[in-house]
Symmetry: C2
Subunit: 179 residues, 2 copies
DNA sequence: AACAGGTGTTTTACCTGTAAAAGATAGCTG
DNA sequence: CAGCTATCTTTTACAGGTAAAACACCTGTT
């Protein structure tokens, strides 16, 4: 039970999180460690997936946040303001400013000022920008498909569904809880 | 369908990820967006949960990485070297060094050199360190329980199980895929 | 018209993480 | 035992994010 070297054992106890949970149980018996089994795993999956995920992006010299920004422009299909991009990519305005600076220098996006309201800028993909997104996306998705293929199709569907429910609820209520 | 303001609609389409997927489908019809529905959601859930999760920690003036480090010491129950801590918390050695510096200054951990091998250090919790972990952990878990309660018990179990399977596979194979 | 307050964006100062190199030490090998 | 290589940890240089302040500009009010 006390997994000697940190090596994994069977199905439900095969990840590092369950080993951590076992350790906590030994130190604080009876502790309700239920949340860890979800939150701990979500965090760890996110970390591992991002690491793996970045491989195809790196080849194009893009970080994931940069790709997210370009992707937002591509999938909406129209110009977005820096503020829109911040909302769309869930990052701060300041972060968007910095990324836009670099992406503009690399010629992947262009900006123009609004004619009516001179505070706002409109950002759009250049041809090079659109090409790079369209080139990477399929590779990216293929790579992700390969990574996820460790789970059979049915489980992938279940997982996607459950995560969607959780995320929908969190997005709706988190503001409420935080207040 | 094109959700006007970014507001969510029904059950399976209620999160931002499904809105993003719909946008991609409109631009690249037929694209296999399956992976996004898992990976995108995992990433976004992780981001939201961490944000929410930190609330009880902040009251104790700890960041999550700091708490993870202290937690590793607490749950293993014995001294760990910086290298052990890096492995245990999935962070780089350099990051551990920095965190240890701060935690030592705050009197939450102590270090002593190894007598045999003078390269290695051994880190342990001080009484104050142990108390802070034991004080926060229940609050932390209670908070997480509340956040997750948007999902009923059965779904939480299913989700934990699926994530465990995925994580177990990823931890086992990711090294292999990366090679 | 002047201004008060609000909004969109950028700047500043700072904090934390990383990769790569440096530093220090162990332990094998000829 | 001198030297080589491997290991553990820290340092350095730097990239990238954030919060808060600063800017620039709009808009409704008086």
């Amino acid at each position: 039970m006390t997994a000697p070297n940190g090596r994994q054992a069977d199905a439900t106890g095969g990840d590092t999180v369950s080993a951590v949970v076992r350790q906590w149980q030994a130190v604080h018996p009876g502790l309700d460690t239920g949340p860890m089994e979800i939150i701990g795993r979500v965090n760890r999956c996110a970390a591992l997936l991002q690491q793996a995920e970045d491989a195809p992006l790196r080849r194009a010299g893009l970080s994931r946040p940069e790709f997210d920004l370009l992707g937002a422009l591509r999938r909406t299909g129209h110009e977005l303001t820096p503020g829109d991009l911040a909302r769309e990519t869930f990052s701060s305005g300041a972060a968007v400013t910095k990324r836009l600076k670099q992406l503009t220098e690399r010629g992947l996006v262009e900006r123009r000022g609004d004619t009516r309201d001179r505070r706002v800028a409109h950002v759009r993909l250049t041809d090079a920008g659109r090409e790079i997104v369209d080139g990477i996306l399929p590779e990216q998705l293929a790579y992700e498909t390969a990574v996820l293929s460790v789970l059979d199709q049915r489980r992938q569907g279940e997982l996607a569904g459950l995560l969607g429910e959780l995320l929908g609820q969190l997005e709706g209520r988190l503001g409420a809880l935080r207040a």
